[in-house]
């Protein structure tokens, strides 16, 4: 695991914690409301993986771009989307980020460079790589793009095509693998014969880095280095963030394929928010009381988001054809 000692400001630390905590509270609310039958469709939660989106997005600029996954709420929050409009979208309201056209699985906020969650596993690599190509070779700017993906998605052929091109042309794209050990209901080692997905990076001449995905500081350091490489024209980096999918594949998943007690133990032992509190105290960045304050703040923020979503309206049925085409 890559661990580095670096100095952080209190503001930076507070920002890390607030983002992780916002994601956690957001997801807990979504879970509760979904189970209560208030949210339509289906949702996939990011609980336990908050440090990855938070650490990576903290290393990005607002105009950098990310491609997310079906488990995308965390990426959206971390990139800076408005949680009120996020919640409204998940409720299918017209005040939502996508005006109720997308829902949880297609949540996006282009104003902050969040180019969309994706309902197709492994659908984001080429999009992020194409965005990187356009930014570097055609639009001639220094924007960086990031694609988040799970271990399951790493078995898609699209992974190969995008990694190959990204490396061949030294494109400013970062591949962030959220190694959460589960591809839906299937343990990843039963369908793939590498222990570390990042081992594959060597085959493309791309640096492969492993970080503790529960440690926001470690993720941030790895991302910062990858962003610097990308902006300097040195090409892609593959970051494998080791984590664990605490929730079922989707909310309501009966999880017949694994032992609930074992999952809860992992959560207890590796919760990234808990780890942060410990590390922040050690580094004298934040006290427990300061973290508690942020917990309360985030709770209020998400409560307000839910109220906003509930107060919103469903899109007017007569507008169902709007946005099929520009013209």
């Amino acid at each position: 695991m890559a661990t580095k000692t670096a100095t952080y400001t209190k503001e930076q630390a507070a920002q890390f914690y607030e983002t992780m905590c916002t994601i956690r509270k957001f997801e807990e609310t979504v879970k509760h409301d979904f189970l209560a039958g208030e949210i339509p469709g289906f949702v996939h939660l990011y609980i336990g993986e908050e440090a990855i989106a938070t650490g990576v997005c903290a290393a990005l600029r607002k105009d950098d771009m990310i491609e997310s996954t079906h488990r995308g709420h965390g990426h959206c929050v971390a990139k800076g989307a408005d949680v009120k409009r996020m919640m409204a979208e998940i409720y299918g309201k017209k005040e939502g980020l996508c005006q109720g056209r997308g829902g949880s699985m297609h949540i996006a906020d282009f104003s902050v460079g969040m180019l969309g969650a994706n309902g197709v596993v492994g659908g984001g690599y080429n999009l992020a790589t194409g965005a990187a190509l356009a930014n570097k070779m055609i639009l001639k700017n220094d924007k960086v793009s990031v694609v988040f993906f799970g271990d399951g998605a790493s078995n898609r052929g699209t992974f190969h095509e995008a990694m190959n091109v990204a490396s061949a042309w030294k494109l400013p794209v970062i591949f962030v693998n959220e190694m959460n050990c589960w591809a839906s209901t299937t343990p990843y080692r039963t369908t793939c014969n590498v222990e570390n997905i990042s081992d594959r990076a060597a085959g493309y001449h791309v640096p492969g880095v492993i970080v503790d995905g529960q440690d926001v500081f470690a993720v941030y350091e790895a991302a910062k280095e990858a962003v610097a490489r990308a902006r300097a024209g040195e090409g892609p980096t593959f970051i494998e963030a080791k984590t664990y999918r605490i929730e079922g594949h989707f909310v309501g998943d009966p999880e017949m394929y694994r032992d609930h007690a074992e999952t809860q133990k992992i959560y207890h032992d590796t919760d990234p928010l808990k780890m942060f509190r410990q590390k922040a105290a050690e580094l004298e960045l934040m006290t427990a009381a300061e973290c508690d304050e942020l917990d309360a703040k985030c709770e209020q923020k998400i409560k307000a988001a839910k109220e906003f979503a509930l107060a919103g309206e469903y899109p007017d049925a007569s507008e169902y054809l709007k946005y099929v085409y520009v013209d």
Binding site: A134, T158, V324
Partner: protein, 324 residues
């Protein structure tokens, strides 16, 4: 007036749009060094260095990367080598390219052109000869065009590149080398996507086609004229969204409809035209609708077999005469 080939017409469209807008670029296999395997990109790599890009043989990247580039603010033209290969990046076409604008509630636009050389050449066999346009007319969010002559090839491609929605541009491989008349540069009339053209007026039967199918439509109309039957010939040009009004108006006048395309007849675009006319103008018809397309068979290799999946003007003439 001047005469140029279909391929040259597409080069003019590319050059004129690229000169005006630096965000337009093209990528695909064999474009930069070879000028496209049918020569359709000839001269462009030299005129626009760095903007005609040779990709690896990675179709999901070619299209998915194009979609990503469009989301980032560029205007990509991506080339599929042979239309038959679109099966490889189908997810990128129908789940990413076609859906981005809608599912993100209008935040995204995907001004992408997917160029797809299609149709039978000389014994290309099952995987290099197909016409697959109908698949894409079933996907909301993409537009589908298929010009039949050099003038349209240029103006339709320009319209596609300038369009803020994704457009699939089917360009027939036989047509590439065919010459046609165009006004002098700058004097051409712009094309509006979605418009069909009545290429030849008539009163007795409406023949609808597009792309290389227009050769059959024109050929049949010529033969029918010798027997005193005046066929109205409509070039659809755009298949999605298609110009129902022009077809319906013509059928209401001629009372007979014949549709022809090179693609497989079953589930072909002719079925959509036929169903629409049956739904909306049944009472005007004096005879059952005639449809011509390839039989339900992969494109064979041997010339004797390949001939069996082709449609000829004589086939149409025989059928149309039976309508009276």
């Amino acid at each position: 007036m001047r005469k140029i080939t279909f391929a040259e017409a597409t080069q003019e469209a590319m050059a004129e749009t690229m000169a005006k807008d630096d965000t337009i670029f093209a990528m695909g296999e064999d474009l930069a060094r070879q000028g496209g395997i049918f020569g359709q990109f000839k001269g462009l790599p030299q005129a626009f260095p760095g903007r005609i890009i040779d990709t690896p043989i990675s179709e999901t990247f070619i299209i998915g990367g194009g979609v990503g580039a469009a989301l980032a603010g560029a205007r990509p033209v991506v080339d599929m080598h042979f239309a038959d290969f679109i099966g490889v990046p189908m997810d990128e076409v129908f789940n990413q390219m076609a859906k981005a604008r809608y599912m993100f509630g209008g935040q995204a636009k995907v001004p992408l052109v997917l160029r797809a050389p299609d149709g039978m050449t000389i014994q290309g066999a099952a995987q290099h000869s197909q016409c697959v346009e109908a698949w894409f007319t079933h996907i909301p969010g993409v537009k589908v065009v298929a010009p039949s002559n050099p003038y349209d090839a240029k103006m339709v491609l320009k319209a596609a590149i300038e369009c803020d929605d994704p457009v699939i541009y089917f360009e027939n491989k036989i047509l590439y080398k065919e010459k046609g008349e165009l006004p002098e540069k700058g004097e051409e009339v712009p094309y509006t996507i979605g418009k069909a053209r009545v290429e030849r007026e008539g009163t007795d039967v409406t023949i609808v086609s597009y792309s290389i199918g227009m050769k059959n439509a024109r050929g049949a109309a010529d033969l029918l004229a010798k027997d005193g039957i005046k066929a109205e010939v409509i070039d659809l040009i755009t298949l999605s969204p298609w110009d129902k009004e022009t077809v319906l108006n013509s059928v209401k006048k001629t009372h007979r409809l014949c549709i022809v395309h090179e693609a497989v007849k079953q589930g072909g675009f002719g079925a959509e035209i036929s169903a629409t006319v049956a739904e909306q103008a049944m009472e005007y018809l004096d005879a059952p609708i005639l449809r011509y397309g390839a039989p339900f068979c992969p494109i064979p290799f041997a010339p004797t077999l390949e001939k069996m999946v082709r449609v000829f003007p004589e086939d149409l003439v025989k059928g149309i005469k039976g309508m009276f």
